[in-house]
């Protein structure tokens, strides 16, 4: 399924859980915070949240900053 991830079009397996999606892109999922279609999804809900085609996903984490 095609969806938008961090502003890019990306093809992920149908019905992929948010948890599995996050672990594809980071080694430290505990420090990542996610939004699906503008809504924050809590860590506790990642496993049971399945992604759908055309979803807009944001995977965000801490970086250095002043």
């Amino acid at each position: 399924m095609i969806l938008t991830l961090n502003g890019q079009n990306i093809d992920l397996p149908d019905g992929l859980s948010l948890k599995d999606a996050v672990s594809r892109f980071t080694k430290t999922p505990e420090h990542v915070v996610t939004e699906i279609n503008g809504k924050i999804v809590a860590h506790t809900a990642w496993e049971k949240t399945s992604l759908s085609a055309n979803d807009t996903i944001e995977l965000i984490t801490f970086v250095g900053g002043g």
């Binding site: 961090n6 890019q8 250095g64 900053g65 002043g66």
Partner: protein, 257 residues
């Protein structure tokens, strides 16, 4: 804990020196600098993860006991700042937020009006809000009303290292505002940090000067020492400047008639 602790919201800090974590050449030097400075609060930012490169997370380089102050850099409006703050809270690293709303890429000046709006919204949601603003008395008073936990007025432009260009205006805030005044931005040398503390600032935040120095950990330590020296200077009651000379040695008993 010494008896000159910095109180912000529910926390007490022994150190009045805050360090920003941006622009460091590598994360190991960042960690060394944080440790050398004994800073107890550091700023971080939130960004999209890099999908291609699985970079090591910066949090691994920041000691656990340090308070994280997440900035809302990237926000151009109050709404964007609020969104970033809520994301920071959802990330489970505390709810201390430095509001940074900037719309100009030339001078990087804060949008005071949007900052006040964001402060009001976030303070009402229980965040500990430290807004980054121009040192303007009316803005500061509105931030107090809006529920800010401290005020962070700029010393000079972010990254400019020009020092305390806004000295006289920061002094006004120190004298008139009851909240801690944390000077942030443009502090380029330990002497600038010392000067800010001598004026009566509660704390100082430095990022660029340390990150881009030849020896960041050494400079981080120097800044921390300067902040201590300036604070002691302030507490000890600095004498006023005089326009004329006044002898330091006795005016009697001279050897020569």
């Amino acid at each position: 804990m010494n008896n000159d602790t910095l109180h912000i919201a529910e926390k007490k800090f022994s150190s009045r020196f805050l360090i920003g974590t941006g622009k460091f050449r590598n994360k190991a030097i960042l960690k060394e600098s944080i440790l050398a400075s004994h800073a107890e609060m550091v700023t971080v930012a939130l960004r999209r993860i890099d999908l291609e490169r699985h970079e090591e997370n910066i949090l691994a380089y920041i000691p656990n006991e340090i308070t994280l102050l997440t900035n809302t850099s990237g926000a151009r409006t109050a709404e964007e700042a609020v969104r970033i703050a809520r994301l920071a809270k959802a990330a489970g690293q505390g709810n201390w937020i430095k509001i940074e709303v900037i719309n100009d890429s030339k001078y990087l000046l804060p949008d005071n009006e949007e900052t006040i709006k964001a402060t009001r919204i976030l303070a009402a949601e229980g965040f500990v809000v430290l807004p980054y603003v121009s040192p303007d008395l009316y803005v500061a008073k509105r931030l107090v009303d809006a529920g800010a936990a401290a005020i962070m007025p700029l010393g000079s432009f972010i990254g400019s290292n020009m020092g305390l260009k806004t000295r006289d205006f920061i002094k006004i805030l120190v004298d008139e505002i009851k909240l801690p005044v944390i000077v942030d931005a443009g502090i380029g040398a330990p002497s600038h940090a010392c000067e800010a503390m001598e004026l009566g600032a509660a704390a100082v935040l430095v990022n660029t000067a340390i990150a881009i120095a030849d020896n960041p950990p050494m400079l981080a330590k120097a800044f921390a020492q300067a902040v201590e020296a300036g604070r002691a200077g302030y507490l000890s009651g600095l004498p006023a400047q005089r326009p004329l000379g006044e002898a330091s040695s006795p005016l009697t008993g001279f050897l020569f008639e």
